[in-house]
Amino acid sequence: MTRWGMVIDLDRCTGCQSCVIACKAENNIPFVGAEQARMGRDINWMEIISEIHYEGDEVKRRFIPRPCFHCESAPCTKVCPVHATYLTDDGLVAQIFHRCIGCRFCMAACPYTAKYFNWSYYQIPDQMTLGRNPDVSVRPAGVVEKCTFCHHRQLKARDRAAAEGRQMMPEEFVTACQESCPSAAILFGDLDDPDSEVAKAAHSPRAFRMLEELGTHPKVFYLKEEENIDG
C-alpha cells in the first residue's frame, strides 16, 4: 500500500520561501491584500515558521516549513460533520472543498494550524485570472482549504500511467514545493516503500515529528539541524 509522506531537512532549509510561493502559484491561492492580511486572513498552505531561540547566550534563528502534516490519526477528520475532510487509502488527508460547509471545526482541531478559512471571494484583476493553474479549482468563499500534497498532480500522473497500462512510478508524482526548493530540503514519496529516499530519511536518527506526544502521527518528518562535531 502506498502511504505518501514528506521529509523536510531543517539543516538544508534557508527559509527562502520558494516552497510557499511555488505552492501559491500551483494551487491558485489568492493574495488577500494588506487589510485582510493584517487581520490574519492570509492563506499559506505551506508556511515558514521562524523563531529566535538561545543557545547559551548565542542568538539562533530557525526556519520550519509547515505544510499539512497529513496525520495518520488526524484530529481534523474526526470532527468534520460532513465528511469533507477524511483520510484516504493512500494516506492523504483529503479536503473536499465543495463539500465543506465552513463550520471550521477542523481548524480548531488541527494542532498545527495548517487549515485556512476562505473569508471572501478574493477578487483579482481579470487578466491575472489567466495565470491560474487550470488543474486546480478555485475555492469559493466560506470553505476551509489546506495543502493537498499536490493531489491534482497525482490524479494526472495516475491517469497517464493507467493509459500506458502500468503502475504510477513514485517519481512521477512530485509536489510543487519539493520541485522548487533550491537547497533540496524537501523529500516526498512513499513511506511504505523501504527503498524510497523518503522512507530512509524518515528512519534517520535525525528524524522527528512535530508535537509527537499528541499521538497524531504526522506523515511529515523533520530532520533536525546538525552541529559540526568540532564546532
Binding site: 477524511y86 484516504t88 487509502d89 492523504l92 483529503a94 472543498f97 463539500r99 493507467a162 493509459a163
Partner: protein, 167 residues
C-alpha cells in the same frame, strides 16, 4: 485504512447542490451550425474519435477545429444551408463558436482517456444517443450528476473515494 463511504442520501444532497450551481444545464443551447451527428456516423461512416481527436489520448475530448472539417468540406459538398455556414467559417479560417453542452465543474477531475481508452466505457453512457441525433440537442441527453458518476463507479468497482475525482 478504509475510506468511509458516503451515504446515498448525502450524495443526493450533494448532487442537488451541484445542479443548482451548474446553471448552464437548465437553459437551452443553440449551436452556430445545426450539425447532424447521425448523418456523419451512419452515412459517412465516421467514428466519434475521427473528429473528437483527443478522446483516447487526453483528458479532453477536443472540439473539432475547422481544419478537421476542412479535410472534407474544403468546398461545398451538398446544397445544405448549414454546410454553407461551415464553409464560410473554413474559408475565413475562423474557429466555430460551438457552445459547450456537457461540462463538469472545475473541482472535478475527469479524464476521457481514463474512461474511454482504459475502462472502455462507451461514449453513449455519458453522452446519451448523441451519435444518433440529426440536430444538436438543446440540453445534455444525459444529466451528469455526482450520483450518476457514483452509481457507475460502484457497478464497475471503480474508486468511490471523493479524492479520486475532486480537486
Amino acid at each position: 485504512m478504509k475510506a468511509i463511504g458516503i451515504s446515498r442520501a448525502a450524495r443526493r444532497g450533494c448532487a442537488a447542490g451541484l445542479l443548482l450551481v451548474s446553471g448552464c444545464w437548465q437553459g437551452s443551447t443553440t449551436q452556430p451550425i445545426q450539425f447532424n451527428h447521425l448523418l456523419h456516423m451512419e452515412e459517412v461512416g465516421l467514428e466519434c474519435t475521427d473528429c473528437h481527436r483527443y478522446v483516447k489520448r487526453a483528458e479532453f475530448a477536443g472540439r473539432p477545429t475547422v481544419d478537421i472539417c476542412a479535410e472534407c468540406h474544403e468546398e461545398l459538398l451538398t446544397d445544405s444551408a448549414q454546410e454553407a455556414i461551415l464553409v464560410e467559417y473554413i474559408q475565413a479560417d475562423e474557429a466555430i463558436p460551438w457552445e459547450r453542452l456537457y461540462e463538469v465543474p472545475d473541482h472535478v477531475y475527469y479524464s476521457h482517456r481514463r474512461h474511454v481508452a482504459v475502462a472502455k466505457i462507451d461514449c453513449d453512457v455519458c453522452h446519451g444517443k448523441i451519435g444518433r441525433s440529426d440536430r444538436p440537442p438543446q440540453r445534455p441527453l444525459q444529466r451528469l450528476t455526482m450520483d450518476f458518476c457514483l452509481v457507475c463507479h460502484e457497478q464497475q468497482g471503480a474508486s468511490t473515494d471523493c479524492n479520486a475525482c475532486h480537486r
